[in-house]
Protein backbone atom coordinates (compact mmCIF):
# COMPACT_ATOMS: atom_id res chain seq x y z
CA UNK A 1 0.00 0.00 0.00
CA UNK A 2 1.40 3.41 -0.85
CA UNK A 3 2.56 5.31 2.20
CA UNK A 4 0.35 8.30 1.60
CA UNK A 5 -2.82 6.17 1.59
CA UNK A 6 -2.02 4.01 4.59
CA UNK A 7 -2.77 6.63 7.22
CA UNK A 8 -6.29 7.36 5.90
CA UNK A 9 -6.79 3.60 5.69
CA UNK A 10 -5.79 3.10 9.34
CA UNK A 11 -7.97 5.97 10.44
CA UNK A 12 -10.87 4.69 8.33
CA UNK A 13 -10.62 1.22 9.87
CA UNK A 14 -10.68 2.74 13.35
CA UNK A 15 -13.67 4.82 12.36
CA UNK A 16 -15.52 1.75 11.10
CA UNK A 17 -14.65 -0.17 14.24
CA UNK A 18 -16.07 2.47 16.52
CA UNK A 19 -19.01 3.01 14.19
CA UNK A 20 -19.92 -0.65 14.70
CA UNK A 21 -19.44 -0.31 18.45
CA UNK A 22 -21.60 2.82 18.52
CA UNK A 23 -24.47 0.82 17.01
CA UNK A 24 -24.24 -1.67 19.85
CA UNK A 25 -25.09 1.13 22.28
CA UNK A 26 -28.82 0.92 22.91
CA UNK A 27 -29.45 4.65 22.61
CA UNK A 28 -27.63 5.10 19.32
CA UNK A 29 -29.23 1.98 17.86
CA UNK A 30 -32.65 3.43 18.60
CA UNK A 31 -31.73 6.85 17.24
CA UNK A 32 -29.93 5.69 14.13
CA UNK A 33 -31.35 2.33 13.05
CA UNK A 34 -34.63 1.18 14.51
CA UNK A 35 -36.54 3.12 17.11
CA UNK A 36 -39.19 0.44 17.69
CA UNK A 37 -37.27 -2.81 17.84
CA UNK A 38 -34.66 -3.36 20.51
CA UNK A 39 -31.17 -4.30 19.48
CA UNK A 40 -31.00 -8.07 18.77
CA UNK A 41 -28.36 -9.90 20.73
CA UNK A 42 -26.94 -11.62 17.63
CA UNK A 43 -26.42 -8.27 15.91
CA UNK A 44 -24.49 -7.02 18.93
CA UNK A 45 -22.16 -9.98 18.70
CA UNK A 46 -21.67 -9.54 14.97
CA UNK A 47 -21.02 -5.82 15.30
CA UNK A 48 -18.51 -6.43 18.07
CA UNK A 49 -16.73 -9.03 15.99
CA UNK A 50 -16.58 -6.62 13.08
CA UNK A 51 -15.20 -3.93 15.37
CA UNK A 52 -12.48 -6.21 16.71
CA UNK A 53 -11.57 -7.28 13.18
CA UNK A 54 -11.34 -3.66 12.01
CA UNK A 55 -9.17 -2.73 14.97
CA UNK A 56 -6.89 -5.70 14.38
CA UNK A 57 -6.60 -4.78 10.72
CA UNK A 58 -5.80 -1.20 11.65
CA UNK A 59 -3.13 -2.39 14.09
CA UNK A 60 -1.53 -4.64 11.53
CA UNK A 61 -1.58 -1.88 8.92
CA UNK A 62 -0.05 0.58 11.39
CA UNK A 63 2.69 -1.82 12.46
CA UNK A 64 3.33 -2.72 8.83
CA UNK A 65 3.62 0.97 7.95
CA UNK A 66 5.81 2.21 10.81
CA UNK A 67 7.21 -0.76 12.72
CA UNK A 68 6.18 -1.87 16.19
CA UNK A 69 6.94 1.25 18.27
CA UNK A 70 5.50 3.94 16.06
CA UNK A 71 2.83 1.57 14.78
CA UNK A 72 1.30 0.87 18.18
CA UNK A 73 1.45 4.55 19.15
CA UNK A 74 -0.18 5.53 15.87
CA UNK A 75 -2.82 2.83 16.33
CA UNK A 76 -3.77 3.98 19.84
CA UNK A 77 -4.02 7.60 18.77
CA UNK A 78 -5.88 6.73 15.57
CA UNK A 79 -8.38 4.73 17.66
CA UNK A 80 -9.06 7.84 19.71
CA UNK A 81 -9.37 9.96 16.58
CA UNK A 82 -11.75 7.40 15.05
CA UNK A 83 -13.89 7.33 18.19
CA UNK A 84 -14.06 11.13 18.26
CA UNK A 85 -15.07 11.17 14.60
CA UNK A 86 -17.79 8.57 15.23
CA UNK A 87 -19.09 10.60 18.12
CA UNK A 88 -19.21 13.70 15.93
CA UNK A 89 -21.09 11.71 13.28
CA UNK A 90 -23.60 10.42 15.81
CA UNK A 91 -24.18 13.95 17.11
CA UNK A 92 -24.61 15.25 13.59
CA UNK A 93 -27.02 12.48 12.59
CA UNK A 94 -29.15 12.72 15.73
CA UNK A 95 -29.33 16.46 15.95
CA UNK A 96 -32.21 17.28 13.57
CA UNK A 97 -34.29 14.28 14.67
CA UNK A 98 -33.98 15.20 18.30
CA UNK A 99 -34.66 18.83 17.48
CA UNK A 100 -38.04 17.94 15.96
CA UNK A 101 -39.21 15.69 18.73
CA UNK A 102 -38.27 18.13 21.43
Amino acid sequence: MPDILSFPAIFGLCYLAFGALALTVERHWRDLVDSRRALPRRTVLRLRCAAVLCMAAALSAAVHRDGAGFGILLWVLALTAGALAVSATVTWLCRPARGRTR
Binding site: V25, L73, T80, A83, L84
Partner: protein, 524 residues
Amino acid sequence: MTAGKRKLIGPALRAAMLWPHTWAGVTLGGLLMLVFFMGSLAVFASEIDRWMMPDTRIGAVEAPDAAVSLDRTVVPLVERLAAGREVRDWYVQLPDERRPVMALRVRTEGGNAGGMATAGGTLLPPVGTLGASSFFYPLHYSLHLRAGFVGYWIVSFASVAMLAGLISGVIIHARIFKDFFTFRSWGQLRRSLLDLHNLTGVLVLPFHLMITFTGIVIILPIVLPAGVQALYGGDVQRFYDDALGNYSRPRAGIAAAAAPLDPMLAEARRLWGGGEPAVVFVYNAGDAASVVRINRDTGDRISLDVQPVFFDGVTGALLKYQPPGPMVAAHRVMSGLHFAAFEHWPLRWLYFLFGLAGCVLIGTGMLHWMEKRRVVHGLPGVGWRSVAALTCGTTTGLLIATLAMMAANRLLPSGVPSRELVEVGVFFLTWIASAVHAAVRTKIDPPWSSQCTAVALLAAACVLMNWITTGEHPVRAAAAGDWAVVGVDAVLVLTAAGAWRVSRRLARRARPEASTLSRLTDHA
Protein backbone atom coordinates in the same frame (compact mmCIF):
# COMPACT_ATOMS: atom_id res chain seq x y z
CA MET B 1 -15.19 -5.64 33.28
CA THR B 2 -18.36 -3.64 33.80
CA ALA B 3 -19.62 -5.99 36.48
CA GLY B 4 -16.28 -5.98 38.27
CA LYS B 5 -16.17 -2.23 38.07
CA ARG B 6 -19.61 -1.92 39.61
CA LYS B 7 -18.50 -3.84 42.63
CA LEU B 8 -15.26 -1.98 42.92
CA ILE B 9 -16.68 1.50 42.59
CA GLY B 10 -19.61 2.21 44.81
CA PRO B 11 -21.64 5.40 45.08
CA ALA B 12 -19.75 6.41 48.21
CA LEU B 13 -16.40 6.27 46.48
CA ARG B 14 -17.88 8.26 43.63
CA ALA B 15 -19.12 10.90 46.03
CA ALA B 16 -15.73 11.02 47.71
CA MET B 17 -13.96 11.50 44.39
CA LEU B 18 -16.16 14.37 43.30
CA TRP B 19 -14.70 16.86 45.74
CA PRO B 20 -11.01 16.55 44.76
CA HIS B 21 -11.97 16.32 41.08
CA THR B 22 -13.99 19.51 41.24
CA TRP B 23 -11.64 21.59 43.31
CA ALA B 24 -8.44 20.45 41.66
CA GLY B 25 -10.07 21.43 38.37
CA VAL B 26 -11.36 24.79 39.53
CA THR B 27 -8.13 25.85 41.23
CA LEU B 28 -5.57 24.41 38.82
CA GLY B 29 -7.63 24.41 35.62
CA GLY B 30 -6.27 27.73 34.43
CA LEU B 31 -2.66 26.66 34.90
CA LEU B 32 -3.31 23.29 33.24
CA MET B 33 -4.97 25.09 30.35
CA LEU B 34 -1.79 27.12 29.86
CA VAL B 35 0.35 23.99 30.05
CA PHE B 36 -1.79 22.03 27.60
CA PHE B 37 -2.16 24.89 25.15
CA MET B 38 1.52 25.78 25.08
CA GLY B 39 2.38 22.09 24.91
CA SER B 40 0.17 21.74 21.84
CA LEU B 41 1.93 24.69 20.22
CA ALA B 42 5.28 23.20 21.15
CA VAL B 43 4.51 20.18 18.94
CA PHE B 44 4.88 22.57 16.02
CA ALA B 45 7.53 24.79 17.61
CA SER B 46 9.83 24.45 14.62
CA GLU B 47 7.08 25.42 12.20
CA ILE B 48 5.98 28.42 14.29
CA ASP B 49 9.66 29.39 14.53
CA ARG B 50 9.89 29.46 10.75
CA TRP B 51 6.78 31.64 10.61
CA MET B 52 8.19 34.02 13.21
CA MET B 53 11.70 34.05 11.72
CA PRO B 54 11.17 34.70 8.00
CA ASP B 55 14.92 34.75 7.30
CA THR B 56 15.13 31.07 8.17
CA ARG B 57 12.30 29.84 5.95
CA ILE B 58 12.69 27.40 3.09
CA GLY B 59 12.08 30.15 0.56
CA ALA B 60 14.72 32.41 2.12
CA VAL B 61 17.63 29.99 2.44
CA GLU B 62 18.88 27.23 0.22
CA ALA B 63 17.96 23.78 1.44
CA PRO B 64 20.92 21.94 2.97
CA ASP B 65 21.99 19.44 0.32
CA ALA B 66 25.07 17.79 1.78
CA ALA B 67 26.19 17.20 5.35
CA VAL B 68 27.63 20.33 6.95
CA SER B 69 31.38 20.32 7.56
CA LEU B 70 32.13 21.31 11.12
CA ASP B 71 35.74 22.30 10.47
CA ARG B 72 35.22 24.27 7.29
CA THR B 73 31.80 25.81 8.00
CA VAL B 74 30.94 25.82 11.67
CA VAL B 75 34.25 26.63 13.37
CA PRO B 76 34.77 29.88 11.38
CA LEU B 77 31.20 30.86 12.31
CA VAL B 78 31.96 30.30 15.98
CA GLU B 79 35.02 32.53 15.69
CA ARG B 80 32.97 35.24 14.00
CA LEU B 81 30.30 35.08 16.72
CA ALA B 82 32.98 35.25 19.42
CA ALA B 83 34.37 38.39 17.75
CA GLY B 84 37.86 38.10 19.20
CA ARG B 85 36.82 37.12 22.71
CA GLU B 86 38.12 33.86 24.09
CA VAL B 87 35.61 31.05 23.52
CA ARG B 88 34.69 28.91 26.52
CA ASP B 89 32.04 26.51 25.20
CA TRP B 90 29.89 26.40 22.13
CA TYR B 91 27.32 24.22 20.45
CA VAL B 92 25.66 23.97 17.08
CA GLN B 93 22.33 22.44 16.16
CA LEU B 94 22.82 21.10 12.67
CA PRO B 95 20.16 21.75 10.02
CA ASP B 96 17.36 19.24 9.78
CA GLU B 97 14.18 18.72 7.82
CA ARG B 98 12.16 21.18 9.89
CA ARG B 99 14.88 23.78 10.39
CA PRO B 100 16.89 24.40 7.23
CA VAL B 101 19.44 26.52 9.13
CA MET B 102 21.84 25.80 11.93
CA ALA B 103 21.59 27.44 15.31
CA LEU B 104 24.77 28.33 17.17
CA ARG B 105 25.38 29.39 20.72
CA VAL B 106 28.79 30.54 21.97
CA ARG B 107 29.82 31.22 25.56
CA THR B 108 32.85 33.49 25.74
CA GLU B 109 34.87 35.26 28.41
CA GLY B 110 32.80 38.37 27.91
CA GLY B 111 29.24 37.08 27.61
CA ASN B 112 27.19 34.86 25.34
CA ALA B 113 26.48 35.15 21.64
CA GLY B 114 24.16 33.24 19.40
CA GLY B 115 22.94 33.22 15.89
CA MET B 116 21.60 31.28 12.99
CA ALA B 117 23.47 30.44 9.83
CA THR B 118 22.67 28.77 6.55
CA ALA B 119 24.05 25.35 5.80
CA GLY B 120 26.48 27.11 3.45
CA GLY B 121 27.97 29.08 6.32
CA THR B 122 26.38 32.51 5.88
CA LEU B 123 25.52 34.13 9.20
CA LEU B 124 21.92 35.38 9.16
CA PRO B 125 20.90 38.71 10.70
CA PRO B 126 19.61 38.37 14.29
CA VAL B 127 16.12 36.82 14.27
CA GLY B 128 14.92 39.27 16.92
CA THR B 129 12.47 36.84 18.47
CA LEU B 130 12.45 34.01 20.95
CA GLY B 131 9.97 32.24 18.72
CA ALA B 132 8.01 29.21 19.77
CA SER B 133 11.01 27.08 20.71
CA SER B 134 12.39 29.59 23.21
CA PHE B 135 9.20 31.19 24.45
CA PHE B 136 6.03 29.07 24.05
CA TYR B 137 7.84 25.82 24.68
CA PRO B 138 9.64 26.79 27.93
CA LEU B 139 6.41 28.41 29.08
CA HIS B 140 4.86 24.96 28.72
CA TYR B 141 7.18 23.18 31.14
CA SER B 142 8.80 25.85 33.33
CA LEU B 143 6.54 28.93 33.08
CA HIS B 144 9.87 30.75 32.52
CA LEU B 145 10.47 30.48 36.26
CA ARG B 146 13.94 28.99 36.11
CA ALA B 147 15.34 29.98 39.50
CA GLY B 148 15.41 26.92 41.74
CA PHE B 149 13.27 25.02 39.22
CA VAL B 150 10.20 26.75 40.70
CA GLY B 151 8.35 26.48 37.41
CA TYR B 152 9.11 22.74 37.17
CA TRP B 153 7.67 22.23 40.63
CA ILE B 154 4.50 24.18 39.90
CA VAL B 155 3.89 22.44 36.57
CA SER B 156 4.62 19.02 38.06
CA PHE B 157 2.25 19.67 40.94
CA ALA B 158 -0.48 20.62 38.49
CA SER B 159 0.34 17.56 36.39
CA VAL B 160 -0.06 15.19 39.33
CA ALA B 161 -3.37 16.92 40.01
CA MET B 162 -4.23 16.33 36.35
CA LEU B 163 -3.43 12.62 36.71
CA ALA B 164 -5.53 12.45 39.86
CA GLY B 165 -8.26 14.36 38.06
CA LEU B 166 -8.24 11.91 35.15
CA ILE B 167 -8.41 8.90 37.45
CA SER B 168 -11.08 10.38 39.71
CA GLY B 169 -13.00 11.48 36.60
CA VAL B 170 -13.15 7.89 35.38
CA ILE B 171 -14.37 6.80 38.82
CA ILE B 172 -17.04 9.50 38.98
CA HIS B 173 -18.31 8.89 35.46
CA ALA B 174 -21.04 6.34 36.11
CA ARG B 175 -21.91 5.40 32.56
CA ILE B 176 -18.68 5.29 30.63
CA PHE B 177 -19.79 2.71 28.08
CA LYS B 178 -23.38 3.85 27.70
CA ASP B 179 -22.26 7.43 27.11
CA PHE B 180 -19.14 6.47 25.21
CA PHE B 181 -20.07 8.39 22.04
CA THR B 182 -22.72 10.70 23.42
CA PHE B 183 -22.46 14.40 22.77
CA ARG B 184 -25.80 16.19 22.84
CA SER B 185 -24.97 19.58 21.42
CA TRP B 186 -28.62 20.64 21.71
CA GLY B 187 -30.79 21.40 24.70
CA GLN B 188 -29.41 22.50 28.02
CA LEU B 189 -26.00 24.10 27.90
CA ARG B 190 -24.97 22.41 31.12
CA ARG B 191 -25.68 18.96 29.73
CA SER B 192 -23.82 19.71 26.50
CA LEU B 193 -20.80 20.88 28.47
CA LEU B 194 -20.83 17.77 30.62
CA ASP B 195 -21.20 15.56 27.54
CA LEU B 196 -18.22 17.22 25.90
CA HIS B 197 -16.22 17.00 29.14
CA ASN B 198 -16.99 13.29 29.46
CA LEU B 199 -16.41 12.62 25.78
CA THR B 200 -12.97 14.22 25.62
CA GLY B 201 -12.15 12.80 29.04
CA VAL B 202 -12.98 9.22 28.10
CA LEU B 203 -12.03 9.03 24.43
CA VAL B 204 -8.74 10.90 24.72
CA LEU B 205 -7.98 9.32 28.11
CA PRO B 206 -5.09 7.12 26.86
CA PHE B 207 -3.35 10.10 25.35
CA HIS B 208 -3.98 12.36 28.33
CA LEU B 209 -2.75 9.78 30.82
CA MET B 210 0.30 9.11 28.68
CA ILE B 211 1.20 12.74 28.04
CA THR B 212 0.70 13.85 31.64
CA PHE B 213 2.59 10.92 33.11
CA THR B 214 5.50 11.12 30.68
CA GLY B 215 5.64 14.88 31.17
CA ILE B 216 6.44 14.40 34.84
CA VAL B 217 8.74 11.48 34.04
CA ILE B 218 11.07 13.75 32.06
CA ILE B 219 11.87 15.93 35.07
CA LEU B 220 11.38 13.22 37.67
CA PRO B 221 14.95 13.36 39.07
CA ILE B 222 14.38 17.05 39.75
CA VAL B 223 10.90 16.97 41.27
CA LEU B 224 11.22 13.63 43.08
CA PRO B 225 14.92 13.50 43.96
CA ALA B 226 14.46 10.83 46.64
CA GLY B 227 16.57 8.22 44.89
CA VAL B 228 19.17 10.81 43.90
CA GLN B 229 19.35 11.89 47.53
CA ALA B 230 19.74 8.32 48.70
CA LEU B 231 22.32 7.08 46.20
CA TYR B 232 24.02 10.17 44.76
CA GLY B 233 24.05 12.42 47.82
CA GLY B 234 21.58 14.77 46.12
CA ASP B 235 23.89 15.51 43.17
CA VAL B 236 21.53 15.48 40.18
CA GLN B 237 24.36 16.25 37.77
CA ARG B 238 26.25 13.16 38.88
CA PHE B 239 23.09 11.09 38.48
CA TYR B 240 22.55 12.36 34.95
CA ASP B 241 26.20 11.73 34.07
CA ASP B 242 25.82 8.17 35.29
CA ALA B 243 22.36 7.45 33.87
CA LEU B 244 22.65 9.08 30.46
CA GLY B 245 26.31 8.32 29.88
CA ASN B 246 27.35 11.97 30.08
CA TYR B 247 30.92 13.06 30.60
CA SER B 248 32.39 16.25 31.98
CA ARG B 249 35.71 17.48 33.28
CA PRO B 250 36.93 20.84 34.53
CA ARG B 251 39.02 23.26 32.52
CA ALA B 252 42.74 22.55 32.74
CA GLY B 253 43.81 26.12 32.13
CA ILE B 254 46.44 25.06 29.60
CA ALA B 255 45.87 26.17 26.03
CA ALA B 256 45.92 23.43 23.42
CA ALA B 257 45.12 23.21 19.74
CA ALA B 258 41.81 21.58 18.85
CA ALA B 259 41.63 18.34 16.88
CA PRO B 260 39.56 18.34 13.66
CA LEU B 261 35.88 17.70 14.34
CA ASP B 262 34.73 16.05 11.12
CA PRO B 263 36.53 12.73 11.79
CA MET B 264 34.74 12.66 15.16
CA LEU B 265 31.40 12.98 13.33
CA ALA B 266 32.36 10.05 11.13
CA GLU B 267 33.38 7.99 14.17
CA ALA B 268 30.12 8.84 15.96
CA ARG B 269 28.13 7.72 12.91
CA ARG B 270 30.06 4.48 12.89
CA LEU B 271 29.37 3.88 16.61
CA TRP B 272 25.66 4.53 16.14
CA GLY B 273 25.53 2.22 13.16
CA GLY B 274 23.56 4.71 11.09
CA GLY B 275 21.76 7.86 12.13
CA GLU B 276 22.64 11.49 11.78
CA PRO B 277 24.29 13.90 14.21
CA ALA B 278 21.93 16.57 15.53
CA VAL B 279 23.88 18.68 18.01
CA VAL B 280 27.62 19.11 18.53
CA PHE B 281 28.89 20.59 21.79
CA VAL B 282 32.44 21.69 22.45
CA TYR B 283 33.23 22.22 26.12
CA ASN B 284 36.40 23.95 27.34
CA ALA B 285 37.25 25.01 23.80
CA GLY B 286 40.92 25.69 23.16
CA ASP B 287 41.87 24.06 26.46
CA ALA B 288 43.87 20.92 27.15
CA ALA B 289 40.75 19.43 28.81
CA SER B 290 38.51 20.15 25.85
CA VAL B 291 35.60 17.73 25.36
CA VAL B 292 33.48 17.28 22.25
CA ARG B 293 30.01 15.83 22.59
CA ILE B 294 27.95 14.65 19.62
CA ASN B 295 24.23 13.89 19.98
CA ARG B 296 22.36 11.68 17.61
CA ASP B 297 19.25 12.88 15.86
CA THR B 298 16.26 11.02 17.35
CA GLY B 299 13.85 11.74 14.50
CA ASP B 300 13.70 8.09 13.41
CA ARG B 301 12.66 6.60 16.76
CA ILE B 302 10.42 7.24 19.74
CA SER B 303 13.16 7.09 22.36
CA LEU B 304 14.80 10.36 23.26
CA ASP B 305 18.11 8.59 23.80
CA VAL B 306 20.50 10.94 22.00
CA GLN B 307 23.33 8.40 22.39
CA PRO B 308 25.95 11.01 23.20
CA VAL B 309 29.48 10.25 22.07
CA PHE B 310 32.29 12.07 23.88
CA PHE B 311 35.69 12.78 22.34
CA ASP B 312 38.83 14.37 23.66
CA GLY B 313 38.90 17.77 21.95
CA VAL B 314 42.70 17.81 21.67
CA THR B 315 43.62 14.27 20.68
CA GLY B 316 40.31 13.31 19.09
CA ALA B 317 40.26 10.06 21.07
CA LEU B 318 36.98 8.53 22.18
CA LEU B 319 36.33 9.33 25.86
CA LYS B 320 32.95 7.80 26.56
CA TYR B 321 30.12 6.10 24.73
CA GLN B 322 27.90 4.24 27.14
CA PRO B 323 24.50 2.85 26.17
CA PRO B 324 21.98 3.24 29.00
CA GLY B 325 20.65 0.33 31.04
CA PRO B 326 17.14 -1.04 30.44
CA MET B 327 15.34 1.14 33.02
CA VAL B 328 17.01 4.32 31.85
CA ALA B 329 16.25 3.29 28.27
CA ALA B 330 12.59 2.91 29.26
CA HIS B 331 12.77 6.35 30.83
CA ARG B 332 14.14 7.72 27.56
CA VAL B 333 11.32 6.07 25.59
CA MET B 334 8.75 7.67 27.90
CA SER B 335 10.47 11.03 27.53
CA GLY B 336 10.43 10.56 23.78
CA LEU B 337 6.71 9.78 23.85
CA HIS B 338 6.20 13.17 25.44
CA PHE B 339 8.67 15.15 23.34
CA ALA B 340 7.36 13.90 19.99
CA ALA B 341 10.69 14.83 18.46
CA PHE B 342 10.20 12.17 15.81
CA GLU B 343 9.69 12.71 12.11
CA HIS B 344 6.13 11.50 11.82
CA TRP B 345 3.56 13.96 10.52
CA PRO B 346 0.33 12.06 11.28
CA LEU B 347 1.48 11.52 14.84
CA ARG B 348 2.49 15.16 15.20
CA TRP B 349 -0.94 16.34 14.11
CA LEU B 350 -2.64 13.85 16.42
CA TYR B 351 -0.52 15.10 19.33
CA PHE B 352 -1.49 18.67 18.47
CA LEU B 353 -5.21 17.85 18.21
CA PHE B 354 -5.32 15.75 21.37
CA GLY B 355 -3.38 18.41 23.25
CA LEU B 356 -6.08 20.84 22.24
CA ALA B 357 -8.64 18.20 23.26
CA GLY B 358 -7.02 18.44 26.69
CA CYS B 359 -7.77 22.16 26.63
CA VAL B 360 -11.37 21.34 25.73
CA LEU B 361 -11.52 18.85 28.59
CA ILE B 362 -10.25 21.37 31.13
CA GLY B 363 -12.25 24.27 29.71
CA THR B 364 -15.56 22.38 29.61
CA GLY B 365 -14.92 21.20 33.13
CA MET B 366 -14.56 24.76 34.36
CA LEU B 367 -17.53 25.96 32.32
CA HIS B 368 -19.66 23.14 33.65
CA TRP B 369 -18.74 24.11 37.21
CA MET B 370 -19.72 27.70 36.41
CA GLU B 371 -23.08 26.71 34.93
CA LYS B 372 -23.88 24.34 37.77
CA ARG B 373 -22.99 26.91 40.38
CA ARG B 374 -25.14 29.45 38.64
CA VAL B 375 -28.09 27.10 38.78
CA VAL B 376 -27.55 26.21 42.40
CA HIS B 377 -26.69 29.62 43.78
CA GLY B 378 -28.63 31.97 41.54
CA LEU B 379 -26.93 35.32 41.07
CA PRO B 380 -23.16 34.92 40.97
CA GLY B 381 -20.95 35.93 43.86
CA VAL B 382 -17.31 36.98 44.02
CA GLY B 383 -15.92 33.43 43.98
CA TRP B 384 -17.94 32.52 40.92
CA ARG B 385 -16.91 35.67 39.14
CA SER B 386 -13.24 35.05 39.86
CA VAL B 387 -13.43 31.55 38.40
CA ALA B 388 -15.38 32.90 35.42
CA ALA B 389 -12.74 35.56 34.80
CA LEU B 390 -9.95 33.00 35.27
CA THR B 391 -11.60 30.68 32.77
CA CYS B 392 -12.04 33.45 30.25
CA GLY B 393 -8.51 34.75 30.80
CA THR B 394 -6.95 31.32 30.27
CA THR B 395 -9.00 30.36 27.22
CA THR B 396 -9.73 33.28 24.95
CA GLY B 397 -7.33 35.52 26.88
CA LEU B 398 -4.46 33.11 26.29
CA LEU B 399 -5.32 32.88 22.60
CA ILE B 400 -5.41 36.66 22.35
CA ALA B 401 -2.02 36.98 24.04
CA THR B 402 -0.46 34.33 21.79
CA LEU B 403 -1.88 35.89 18.64
CA ALA B 404 -0.90 39.38 19.79
CA MET B 405 2.67 38.18 20.20
CA MET B 406 2.65 36.71 16.71
CA ALA B 407 1.16 39.92 15.33
CA ALA B 408 3.80 41.96 17.17
CA ASN B 409 6.41 39.66 15.69
CA ARG B 410 5.32 40.69 12.19
CA LEU B 411 4.72 44.37 13.02
CA LEU B 412 7.82 45.36 15.01
CA PRO B 413 10.62 46.62 12.78
CA SER B 414 13.81 44.61 12.98
CA GLY B 415 15.78 47.54 14.41
CA VAL B 416 13.87 47.73 17.69
CA PRO B 417 16.31 47.28 20.59
CA SER B 418 15.78 44.00 22.49
CA ARG B 419 13.07 43.15 20.03
CA GLU B 420 12.52 39.67 21.49
CA LEU B 421 11.82 41.13 24.93
CA VAL B 422 9.36 43.62 23.48
CA GLU B 423 7.48 40.67 21.98
CA VAL B 424 7.43 38.90 25.31
CA GLY B 425 6.19 42.12 26.89
CA VAL B 426 3.39 42.29 24.34
CA PHE B 427 2.42 38.72 25.21
CA PHE B 428 2.20 39.30 28.95
CA LEU B 429 0.65 42.77 28.75
CA THR B 430 -2.06 41.57 26.36
CA TRP B 431 -2.70 38.58 28.57
CA ILE B 432 -3.04 40.74 31.67
CA ALA B 433 -5.22 43.19 29.78
CA SER B 434 -7.58 40.46 28.55
CA ALA B 435 -7.76 38.96 32.04
CA VAL B 436 -8.58 42.36 33.50
CA HIS B 437 -11.14 42.87 30.76
CA ALA B 438 -12.65 39.50 31.62
CA ALA B 439 -12.71 40.32 35.33
CA VAL B 440 -14.27 43.74 34.86
CA ARG B 441 -16.85 42.71 32.29
CA THR B 442 -17.99 39.51 33.99
CA LYS B 443 -21.41 40.27 35.39
CA ILE B 444 -23.63 37.38 34.40
CA ASP B 445 -21.29 35.87 31.84
CA PRO B 446 -17.66 36.48 30.94
CA PRO B 447 -17.19 38.63 27.83
CA TRP B 448 -16.90 35.61 25.56
CA SER B 449 -18.31 37.28 22.51
CA SER B 450 -16.00 40.31 22.45
CA GLN B 451 -12.95 38.21 23.25
CA CYS B 452 -13.79 35.77 20.47
CA THR B 453 -14.09 38.70 18.08
CA ALA B 454 -10.63 39.83 19.19
CA VAL B 455 -9.25 36.33 18.57
CA ALA B 456 -10.77 36.24 15.09
CA LEU B 457 -9.47 39.68 14.14
CA LEU B 458 -5.98 39.02 15.51
CA ALA B 459 -5.68 35.64 13.79
CA ALA B 460 -6.78 37.12 10.48
CA ALA B 461 -4.42 40.05 11.00
CA CYS B 462 -1.51 37.64 11.57
CA VAL B 463 -2.08 35.96 8.21
CA LEU B 464 -2.43 39.29 6.44
CA MET B 465 0.62 40.82 8.09
CA ASN B 466 2.70 37.78 7.29
CA TRP B 467 1.65 38.28 3.66
CA ILE B 468 2.41 42.02 3.68
CA THR B 469 5.73 41.90 5.55
CA THR B 470 7.22 38.83 3.88
CA GLY B 471 5.25 38.65 0.65
CA GLU B 472 4.58 34.99 1.38
CA HIS B 473 0.86 34.23 1.22
CA PRO B 474 -0.30 30.66 1.74
CA VAL B 475 -0.62 29.91 -1.98
CA ARG B 476 2.89 31.10 -2.74
CA ALA B 477 4.23 29.24 0.28
CA ALA B 478 2.53 26.06 -0.91
CA ALA B 479 3.99 26.51 -4.35
CA ALA B 480 7.45 26.97 -2.83
CA GLY B 481 6.99 23.87 -0.66
CA ASP B 482 7.24 25.93 2.54
CA TRP B 483 4.80 23.76 4.44
CA ALA B 484 5.65 25.30 7.79
CA VAL B 485 4.22 28.65 6.72
CA VAL B 486 1.27 27.01 4.96
CA GLY B 487 0.44 25.05 8.09
CA VAL B 488 0.70 27.97 10.51
CA ASP B 489 -1.31 30.20 8.17
CA ALA B 490 -3.95 27.51 7.72
CA VAL B 491 -4.36 27.02 11.47
CA LEU B 492 -4.56 30.80 11.90
CA VAL B 493 -7.26 31.06 9.24
CA LEU B 494 -9.21 28.21 10.84
CA THR B 495 -8.88 29.89 14.24
CA ALA B 496 -10.10 33.16 12.79
CA ALA B 497 -13.09 31.54 11.07
CA GLY B 498 -14.03 29.48 14.09
CA ALA B 499 -13.68 32.32 16.57
CA TRP B 500 -15.67 34.64 14.29
CA ARG B 501 -18.52 32.14 14.02
CA VAL B 502 -18.57 31.61 17.76
CA SER B 503 -18.57 35.31 18.48
CA ARG B 504 -21.45 35.95 16.04
CA ARG B 505 -23.48 33.11 17.51
CA LEU B 506 -22.85 34.29 21.04
CA ALA B 507 -23.80 37.82 20.13
CA ARG B 508 -27.05 36.60 18.52
CA ARG B 509 -27.93 34.36 21.41
CA ALA B 510 -29.97 36.14 24.01
CA ARG B 511 -27.82 36.74 27.03
CA PRO B 512 -28.86 34.59 29.97
CA GLU B 513 -30.73 37.38 31.70
CA ALA B 514 -32.79 36.87 34.80
CA SER B 515 -35.58 35.15 32.87
CA THR B 516 -33.27 32.49 31.40
CA LEU B 517 -31.67 32.11 34.75
CA SER B 518 -34.95 31.32 36.44
CA ARG B 519 -35.83 28.89 33.66
CA LEU B 520 -32.53 27.12 34.18
CA THR B 521 -33.20 26.99 37.88
CA ASP B 522 -36.60 25.47 37.20
CA HIS B 523 -34.97 22.72 35.18
CA ALA B 524 -32.75 21.91 38.09
